[in-house]
Amino acid sequence: MDVSGAAHALARASASMTDHHDVSGGLAALVRSCVVTMHVDSAGILVGASGELEPVSSASHGSAELDLLHAQVAEGPCVDAFRTDTAVEVVGRENLLARWPTYASTMIGSGFEAVLASPLRWQHRSIGALGLFRRADVSFSAEDIVFAQAFADMATLLILSTEGPSTEALAERLDSVLSDRIAIEQAKGVLAERHGLTMAAAYDRLVSGAVDHHAPLATWAVQVVRDALRSPDELDLPPA
């Protein structure tokens, strides 16, 4: 594999995200770079839409290459990578036919004998997959797999960055995640102090309180801390 070329391609993709870009153009450039730098013969990206994969980009629009992508409706490497959220590598006719009887005949018929599919991961799930195909039955190295995943990650960012949340929205989300976590820890402290509980038991009590009051955990945590402010458990406070 051409490491510095691959790195360069990744950098170009990341640079294009900061400009106002067109997603299709960015993805097309990315899959073309994959083909050149990863020493594969074809590459394509499929994205999940209501459970099924749709091809969104292909390194070439030759009929054999398009078949590689379009044939993956019910089974195939990208389908597996998408569903299992892990990279899938299968090399050689026998292995291909054993794993995907229908898809493998299309793939072999189009002249390809090795495939590596990497999931497009976003927030603990997969939104699609990047497939890299070789005509020769040559395995992918550990480094190939790492870089393929980096390309897949970059494709994910390209796809999601256009409709992604604004900076303000991200800043607010970050703030709310942090504030929620802080409130939950503080509420555990309040409950531990008031009821002589361990932090683990205090957490259980906090959770059941939230359930009983039909409140989100963090909202309930804020309430618990506010209650402690109104009525500290110390009754013989020194005069203010």
Partner: protein, 238 residues
Amino acid sequence: MDVSHEHLLAQLAVTLVNLRDTTSLPLRLCQAARTLLDAEGTAMTLSTLDGIRLVVAATDDLASALEDVQDLTGEGPSFAALDSGVLEVAHLGRGSDADEPWPLMRARSSRLGFMGALLAIPLKLDDQVMGVLSARRSDGPTSTVEQVGSFLGTALTAALLQDAELGLDPLAHPSSWPAQAEIHQATGMVVAQVGVLPEDAMSLLRGHAFAQDTTLADVAGQVIAQQISFRHFTVEGD
């Protein structure tokens, strides 16, 4: 050595993929940053809009302790980088140079036994500073630190924000919620003990740590272990 953006990106990709799934996201980012900065330890601090700082990951105890010292004294490169949005460096263990900023923080941290540079790299999204990555290096900053730091500040923020829970979901990564959780638990206990606002409760903890010449984490631990109670606590002069 010229460090190209693409070279860094590739290094980051390789480091991150190799660390995938072994630990929480913030810790993975800290580990990746440690590698890229050739640092001995790193810590990531995020900040809420009302200015509460939270150490979300640290590669080792000393990295946490260096953050704790800054929380305690309210000064240091982390605070400065959060304000300035640019790389800040504290040179620790150089004796008392009057020209050096953050004297309180520097005096306190000298007791931790670390001599070298403490770098604070702002974690930025567009122009908004979301937090700070701290890195320590006994040999001082590398010549490429500006370049690597500015790349890391952007790349780590982008990576961090891919995860809606910022890797802080306690169910997904039970060990990811750091020791700092204890500081907020202790704050809650003090709220229940004296009925003050959480920020005032935290000031009480901080003041106590300062007066006792110890760390915030240590005082929090003592409150939780019920070795300290603020029920009858009065501040001298009240």
